[in-house]
């Protein structure tokens, strides 16, 4: 199973954490991105994620390769949802196991930072007033 993937189906964190397990791993840090009910002062009702799948896949895999080079970790994985999500849904999951917790925290943080910066996935927020807006990385709608 690829260490980075885009998924149309709900993410199962328990299964993903199991895949990070290793007898020499003493620490596991995970990040979950959940769909919030508000952004930039507006009430959000649901999200759509659109992805340019082939490039998202290869860029995501680059990021996973980078953390293995930069940090003393054991395993790393990231799964990002595509499609329509409701408030509270799990949109992105990152997990890193390592012998020690410092590297696991650093690598987990690095992955989500870079995914948000570099991986071609876009969020369309649907608001209470039935408008919607595509967001860019500083979370301001693009008009």
């Amino acid at each position: 199973m690829a260490a980075f993937r885009i998924s149309s189906d709900p993410i199962d964190p328990a299964e993903l954490v199991r895949a990070l397990g290793h007898a020499r791993a003493g620490a596991c840090v995970t990040f979950e991105g959940w769909v919030r009910d508000h952004n930039d002062g507006r009430t959000v009702q649901r999200l759509d994620y659109q992805a340019y799948a082939p490039l998202a896949q290869s860029e995501g895999e680059h990021i996973i390769d980078e953390v293995h080079e930069r940090f003393a970790i054991v395993e790393a994985c990231c799964v990002h949802r595509a499609g329509t999500l409701a408030i509270g849904d799990l949109a992105v999951w990152v997990g890193v196991s390592a012998a020690h917790r410092g590297a696991a925290f650093d690598a987990c943080c690095y992955i989500i930072d870079e995914v948000k910066k570099r991986v071609p996935i876009w969020k369309n927020e649907h608001y209470a007033d039935s408008e919607s807006a595509w967001l860019h990385p500083d979370n301001k709608p693009i008009v």
């Binding site: 991105g33 994620y49 659109q50 992805a51 340019y52 082939p54 490039l55 998202a56 290869s58 860029e59 990002h80 949109a91 992105v92 989500i112 995914v115 948000k116 910066k117 570099r118 991986v119 071609p120 996935i121 876009w122 969020k123 369309n124 595509w134 967001l135 860019h136 990385p137 979370n139 693009i142 008009v143």
Partner: protein, 79 residues
């Protein structure tokens, strides 16, 4: 030359299509984007976009070849 262009997010909404075949005299990504701006009324400057050619991030100055797939990448917002 003929190119295949893919659109995402706000560019897709503005172009009202996810992909199209373009017959163009442009020979690099930058001049192709200028044409597409005029054609679809895109408001984003080129420096806010990235471009991918045949599935890989590329420079705006990259020379295009017949049949290339050109993808305009607006600022991403995953996560």
């Amino acid at each position: 030359m003929k190119y295949r262009v893919l659109y995402f997010a706000s560019l897709r909404d503005r172009a009202d299509t996810d992909a199209e075949q373009i017959e163009s005299l442009a020979t690099d990504a930058r001049s192709l984007y200028s044409e597409l701006r005029a054609r679809h009324g895109f408001t984003m400057d080129e420096d806010r976009l990235r471009v991918a050619i045949n599935g890989t991030f590329a420079q705006w100055t990259q020379t295009l070849r017949e049949g290339d797939e050109v993808v305009l990448i607006p600022p991403v917002s995953g996560g």
